[in-house]
Amino acid sequence: MAQAAMTAEPTDRVLLDGVRHGDERAFEALFERHFSGVYGAARRVVGSPEEAEEIALDAFVRLYQRPIADTDDANVRGWLYRVVTNAAFNAVRARRRRRNWFQRLAARRQLVNEHHADPLEVVSASDEAAWVRAHLAELPERQRTALVLRSSGLSYAEIAEALGVNANSVGTILARAERALREKLGVGMVDGGGRDG
């Protein structure tokens, strides 16, 4: 259904213009086109399918109630991904304040260090994702968003649009984000492979 719609439907810019003029069909078309993608990005960050859907729907509610401005570089897809990833990371932070699971994970990490094992091999499968999410959320906003968007399949150009940066900067942001995440997770550090750069 979505593929058929995508081949037959106009560009995001045209649909956005329709949304601004009260065309429900245009809004539906944008939803149909982008919902699964932005939901997937949110899901990677928050883990919970229900929470991810809420975040994705919130983004569309915002788009519906206050459509983004029609500028030359108006980019609905990038805007949706940016809004969703920001909201998702906010949710992760809020959750972390509410719960004490991070302390539990920290205790496990202590165990990891004592046994000189890869933390991702030691924590249970269900906690692995939480472990990654917790550290991902600690990265600077631009870095963590770039990582999530890249793992969601967006191109360098699309990530640049979503982040509002020059396309040439995306590689640098990604490289620093990956280095920071690896260092936070400790992967590779415990096997004596510390980096010097």
Binding site: M1, A2, A5, G22, D23, E24, R25, E28, A29, F31, E32, F35, S36, Y39, G40, R43, R44, V45, G47, P49, E53, A56, L57, F60, V61, Y64, Q65, L120, E128, A129, V132, R133, L136, L147, V148, S151, Y156, N168, S169, V170, G171, T172, L174, A175, R176, A177, E178, R179, L181, R182, L185, V187, G188, G193, R195, G197
Partner: protein, 406 residues
Amino acid sequence: MEAVAMAERRRTRGCLTEGQLRLLLDAGPKSGAERDHLAGCRRCTEQLELMRRDATAATAALARLDDARDRTDAPEVIAAYGRLRSRLMGDRWIEPDSRDSHMSELWNRRWVRASGAITAMLVMMLVFTASPMRTVANDFLNQFRVQKFVAVTIPMDMLQPLQSGLLENMSDAEKAEIQQQLERLGSFETTFDLDQLPAPVTLAEAERQYGPFNVPGDLPADYATVPDAYVVEDGGASLTLNVGEVQALIERMNLPIFAFQDVTADTLTFEVTTDPAVVLQYTTSDGQPLSVVQTKSPRLVTPADFDMNDFREDLLGLPFLPPDVVAQLRAVDDWESTLIIPVPEGATSENLDDVNGEPGLLIEYEDGAAVLWQKDGILYAVFGQASADAVRDAADSMERWQPIAE
């Protein structure tokens, strides 16, 4: 300052920038110059390898955020849009009954199908449990066969109270969620293919395929004496219910069904198997049909750890079932061997003491009649566009078909 100085030194030496190296990991060298430089620059190749290690570690870590559930419990786009619509009701141009848009039409159509699925499921459960067919041999506790028939008048709008009472009070989002639950209830498999009806054969060929069968000796006037014969192969169907999903749906819809509460199995499978059947179709010169069907009773096998008696009581207690229907069903005392024949309002039924030597059931409807009975383990049905007397005479005259000697 040190980073700026380093970047400047790299630029002046022609080294690749951090961003260029990272892009190179994904897309390879953009030019021969990049490739040449990389081949001769130890600093850049070492930097690239460190970057590759970081990227590999980050990719592996991020992959842990994509578990298998992402592919199975991701919300359906149309259902999610239904939930979004319910949040936006009253806002600008989203109207509750908006039906002029593509997604709305799709969504509404899906709900109509879901509503139909509820109806079909309940009717099937009702038929299964109000008239399970217990075997004569009774070798298995939960295997059923038909021994006789009883007609129960079913109002055509019997399920309307279900839709109006339970469903119309729900929001679009709730309906969409129930639709999703219905789709997860279980799976239905069958060997039957209604698109592949058998070809007509001669009576001799039908006997070769099916074995001995009976034909009416006394046909109503104007019917051809030689019918088209069809032999339907044996087959089966199974319905496997996901117990957890059924329990969740029952709870969600607040239905007074308790038979699933003590089930410990993850799934329950109900199976129906049928033997071959022979169908004879006689026609008049103007094409009016009279059909004769004969087959062994289908067998219904239900899960051993599922109490069909409890389930029958649950279904008979459903609030939307009309009291007169419940009364008719409760009057079926030997329900385990009786097949309920739903009869629409306006049709009449009569229990017959003697149809071809056995008790039977006559149903008269607007433009025809049907007679059903069981004899020696074979179920018979004669029906068509003829008077009740003519159909009954045809049924009474059933006898073993014998090929006419040349």
